[in-house]
Symmetry: C2
Subunit: 381 residues, 2 copies
């Protein structure tokens, strides 16, 4: 997802302090290996009610983190990545719900990932970190939810990779999930998205600073290229045309060299440079691989239907008309599969020019849908 | 455009010998600099008639060359890049027409480009090569056409960048062009395509082997990344889904590492590796920059119509339904502009799943359109 633009608007959430949960459990992974001494970084908003029945788990996308809303510090330039959705009267209403957001396994924002210390060696895992899956990420989050004393989540909500995690929660722990909101996502990613992930990883690994994962400083060039490429896929042809067109950086003529002539070039450069300040190259490799591997049909001998056999909760499935990374038909396919499985499904394809990033930018339309959906679940539960 | 798959089918063109035209003229360029001692590599097919009225100039795309059809040698594994279109009964009918294809200025397949020797220094130009434009490429080709004694081209034909060159020919030398066939192209490229070109160039320039353009061996990793990225944009989501889906390289499970698990990954790798064997990294930089800079409205104070003021020849404009690099609306806009200008325009949006590469893959449909169009021009001329 894109960098948020700076905003000084007061977040109703105020100052938030991230928390850490350390688990002594050994986590068995899909690859056959295991991890121990896990740390899970998370944030919460609102108050858990006495019967722990008002918890919503929000899942972040590829480059997101646990910092969903509010600010860590008064001087923070930006609030959390989905701040617009959190607070009184908003979908994640802090007066009604207890909202949890945790950094995923393999991440670089507090939760155990390739940059963490391997307890067996005392050195960072780096490329010795096991290749993880979306299912593994959900297994790790389950440890946190158990720790918080929550037996059933009112909803698991996410966009893009976050939608995969939300869907996987219902598959892995159907008895723990009362509803799912899956936005701009799919039950498996298409070949084109696998291809873009491949090129992004190749760019990182081609950077000599990457050094087989044993870098001291981030492989800035490779990571920036991966990010710029990803960024193009988060926008749409329409939104780029409207936002940048063929506008030049300066009002003068072309430079007749290879510097940033066009505004879109300068914008991408900026996105790439910001990203290397906040993200870890090895995490990028591991998380994109987990996305590639996600395919619910793998969990039921190639049968999409069978995997939802035990899943009976309502789903809100949202796609966006101009999202070409996770095109509309994915949302529609997912909705159809769930309907044929007997689930209560609300499917909405929102007309938007914002491409994949619409899940962050169409806050108003999404809010309306989500408020109604969550309220129904809350009332019924 | 994509690598062609190997084919042993006999090309009706047979063995072709590339030719070189050396020009003593000084070529004044849009950037304000000039070039001298130009070499232009070209191939011809068929026979020029006595009044030199049956010549068709075919323009190649970004990574193409002068080798349009036939084989250079009996042992060549593959014929030229658009072999299906050349020969008796085909659009470029060698019994009727004299077909010319030349490598563009800035290229790496025989025509003067950044890898050529700068006559002023005796050293290769490398990054001292001036930044060229599509107009400059056309100016260089004009020297060749004059040399061949051709005063008027029956048609100028091209796909993708080749379509830009064909259109520019009609704008630059309206009295020399009897018709234009512009396929999967645009009168300027959109922001998204500028963005992809930018990331491709950044990947090349980030490769330390590139070394400011002063490499001894190609910056293989960077150039392969640029190619893989380009390649994704030449296909469509649909064609990748049908061709690769989520198929694995081996029939077994995921590798749980970062090697080529999926067929689409292996395919891209192959495309990248083949490309670095045959293309030059600096040429890639210069040619993509020329594509970025192409905007016919720049040639008439921002007015698309005015630029076609002196252009009165018929156009065949073709787009493809799944081409997202040069979406259909570009072809439609170009056709509309020309129609309002009073030109005789045939516009066709061909339904195809092949994406941008359809211009090479939809040979049968294109052939029918082109045979009819060219025949009309030939009869009238």
């Amino acid at each position: 997802m894109s960098e948020k633009t700076e905003t000084k608007a007061e977040s109703p959430v105020g100052i938030v302090t991230p928390k850490d949960f350390h688990s002594d459990a050994r986590l068995e992974l899909d690859c056959g290996k295991s991890l121990r001494d896990l740390n899970i970084r998370y944030e919460t908003y609102g108050t858990l009610n006495p019967d722990a029945s008002n918890a919503i788990l929000v899942e972040h996308a590829l480059t997101g983190d646990a910092h969903l809303a509010g600010r860590h510090d008064e001087n923070d330039r930006k609030p959390g990545w989905w701040d617009e959705m959190v607070g009184p009267g908003r979908p994640f209403d802090t007066e009604k719900y207890f909202i949890i957001c945790s950094n995923v396994l393999g991440g670089c924002s507090g939760t155990t990932g390739p940059g963490s210390i391997d307890p067996d060696t005392g050195e960072p895992y780096r490329m010795n970190f096991p290749v993880i899956t979306i299912q593994d990420m959900v297994r790790a989050q389950k440890l946190l939810i158990d720790h918080l004393g929550i037996r059933k989540l009112l909803s698991v909500v996410g966009g893009s990779m976050g939608g995969m995690l939300a869907t996987q929660w219902a598959i892995s722990y159907p008895e723990m999930v009362s509803s799912v909101i899956a936005i701009a996502t799919a039950i498996h990613i298409p070949a084109q998205a696998i291809a873009f992930n491949w090129v992004g990883r190749e760019a990182i690994m081609a950077d000599p600073t990457w050094n087989g994962g044993n870098y001291r400083e981030q492989p800035q060039k490779g990571l920036a290229i991966a990010r710029m490429l990803g960024h193009i896929t988060y926008l749409s042809e329409e939104s780029m045309r409207h936002k940048f067109g063929r506008k030049l950086q300066s009002s003068e003529d072309y430079s007749f060299d290879f510097s940033t002539d066009f505004r879109v070039e300068s914008y991408l450069n900026h996105q790439g440079n910001c990203f290397v300040e906040r993200f870890d190259a090895n995490s990028y490799l591991y998380i994109t691989r987990a996305i590639d591997y996600f395919d619910v049909s793998d969990q039921a001998d190639g049968d999409n239907f069978k995997v939802f056999d035990n899943v009976h909760c309502p789903f809100l499935v949202v796609s966006f008309s101009s999202d070409w990374l996770f095109p509309e038909y994915h949302g529609r396919d997912m909705a159809r599969t769930l309907i044929e499985n007997g689930n209560d499904v609300t499917f909405c394809n929102i007309r938007s020019d914002y491409g994949h990033d619409a899940f962050l930018l169409e806050a108003e339309t999404l809010s309306k849908l989500m408020i109604g959906f969550l309220n129904n679940i809350y009332m019924e539960d």
